[in-house]
């Protein structure tokens, strides 16, 4: 199988001048091709379906079982006592979160879900540590932002010629009929 597919490295060795010319020609050919990088920050990354970003919390669906706090490998989720609520509710420290998504896997009621963002800006460190009510409010805001992105979104796709190509998508992930991103 592939073990011998490459062949002996010495047998495939081209002559000195040819090797130089091939190297230069290969580099020069690439000079004419467009870049494969994603034009961030002019565009946002639409992410692949099922991307694991920050964890969102739905207070009404939570049953206070504390499984998420138990499974969280980074102790980003802790249980809080909320005034006027008999059960403990999870609070979330985004700064500690490693986006493994195990909490959403173990949540028995779909109270936790994953968003597609993980790169958000916070005013200060304390604002990253949220109690259950803050988390629920914040989650709604993240969802809204997800629905109305501040910049056009691009989704990466593998291309056999160019590696990765990007197509414009809207917030739901549907394709946008528009010409390609500006050429640079």
């Amino acid at each position: 199988m592939a073990g011998s597919a490459g062949g002996d490295r010495h047998r495939s060795r081209p002559g000195l001048v040819r090797a130089h010319l091939e190297a230069i020609a290969t580099a020069a050919r690439r000079l004419l091709e467009p870049p494969m990088t994603m034009p961030i920050p002019d565009y946002g990354d639409a992410r692949v379906p099922g991307y694991r970003g920050v964890v969102l919390f739905d207070y009404d669906k939570c049953i206070g079982c504390s499984l998420c706090a138990q499974i969280c490998p980074a102790r980003a989720i802790k249980m809080y006592r909320v005034p006027g609520d008999k059960r403990l509710r999870p609070g979330y420290n985004v700064g500690r979160c490693i986006f493994c998504g195990l909490c959403t896997d173990i949540c028995p009621t779909d109270a936790l879900s994953e968003s597609i963002v993980h790169d958000r800006v916070y005013d200060d460190v304390p604002s990253m540590d949220m109690d259950p009510v803050d988390w629920a409010v914040w989650s709604r805001r993240v969802l809204e932002e997800e629905r109305k992105p501040g910049r056009p979104l691009l989704r990466a796709r593998v291309d056999p010629e160019r590696g990765l190509v990007y197509e414009r998508v809207d917030a739901e992930g549907g394709p946008v009929a528009e010409e390609k991103g500006e050429e640079r």
């Binding site: 580099a27 690439r30 000079l31 870049p35």
Partner: protein
């Protein structure tokens, strides 16, 4: 029409004196070099980015494709604090980059930028330019010694080896060309090529190739950037430099490259041919030089760094003997340039 004549008339200074100041300061000297450096560093980054499927500098002056990025970097570096570390030889540390750059700038008095655009004309201007350019390694070695840093010191050692290795081949290829034209004056060399309509590159490709490769070595371009050697010795002799002194030491390599590519243009690409007017001729020289520099910086995205011993053995045992072949070619072909 001629700005030099106008200046000499209005200032009451002799024509040659205005020329001797204007050439090194304006064109082909420092002002032109600034433009070249800004463009070529940007082009180097942009070409490398394109080959490497990236975008490269973009956000400083987006319309121009990030062309002002280098200017922005330069301004930042110019206002950066110049740190003089404890234990350096203070005066040699500060003065050697300034002196080295000054020495390279002196070459602009000799190399013409176009027909009649030069500081001095001498029957030995080719040799004098070579001598000036090859003075700088001594100052680079001083830099490395004065820095009191092991990486700088090793870099200085490499500079010594590289300069001896490269300059022998550089001189041999230049002398082969001079023998072909029967002259060491840039103006006469260009005129000989214009007269016979054969550029030196066609007449003696061996010498041209050797000159180009040796120029890459003495200007620390890849694949011969041994002196900089980032992965081994950080920045070689320039490791301890900051601010403007660092900018000067970096500009040194580009200034040398610019001078040597100007020389290449005159010696092997027939200088200002096919034009004879000062303006068009200067543009021709400038364009050819830039093109050569673009080729030189393109090689950065093709090659890695060659090893020290391999460079030395390649130059002494392959390229230097090849320079003797260049002499033979010159001896055979020189009648076509006979006046």
């Amino acid at each position: 029409m001629d700005p030099i004549a106008w200046l000499s008339g209005s200032l009451g200074v002799p024509y040659w004196a205005v020329r001797a100041v204007a050439a090194p300061l304006v064109y082909p000297g420092l002002a032109a070099f600034m433009v070249v450096a800004l463009f070529i560093i940007w082009a180097e980054r942009k070409i490398a980015a394109r080959v490497q499927m990236r975008v490269g500098p973009l956000y400083v002056s987006r319309r121009l494709g990030g062309a002002l990025q280098v200017l922005a970097d330069g301004v930042r570096i110019a206002f950066q604090e110049i740190i003089i570390p404890v234990g350096v030889e203070k005066w040699s540390f500060v003065l050697s980059p300034i002196l080295a750059f000054t020495v390279v700038s002196l070459a602009f008095t000799m190399v013409p930028g176009g027909p009649g655009i030069y500081g001095f004309r001498s029957s030995l201007s080719l040799l004098a330019t070579y001598a000036i350019v090859t003075l700088t390694p001594i100052l680079v070695i001083v830099m490395g010694w004065a820095s009191n840093n092991k990486f700088s010191y090793i870099g200085a050692g490499r500079e010594a080896l590289v300069s001896i290795t490269g300059e022998a081949t550089l001189l041999a290829s230049l002398l082969a060309a001079a023998m072909m034209y029967g002259s060491m004056d840039f103006v006469e060399i260009v005129e000989a090529q214009m007269r016979s309509h054969v550029p030196g590159l066609v007449a003696n490709p061996v010498a041209a190739l050797l000159f180009f490769i040796a120029a890459l070595l003495v200007t620390d371009r890849l694949p011969f950037d041994l002196v900089l050697g980032e992965q081994e010795i950080v920045q070689g002799p320039y490791t301890e430099y900051t601010g403007l002194l660092f900018a000067l030491s970096m500009a040194l390599g580009y200034a040398k490259l610019y001078v040597l590519m100007l020389v290449f243009t005159h010696v092997f690409l027939a200088g200002w041919a096919p034009f004879t007017s000062p303006l068009l001729g200067s543009i021709a020289v400038f364009a050819k030089t830039l093109l050569l520099m673009l080729v030189a910086v393109f090689l950065r995205s093709v090659y890695g760094r060659m090893r020290l011993d391999q460079v030395a053995s390649m130059f002494w045992s392959k390229l230097f003997p090849l320079a003797l072949v260049a002499f033979v070619v010159s001896a055979l072909i020189h009648p076509i340039y006979a006046p």
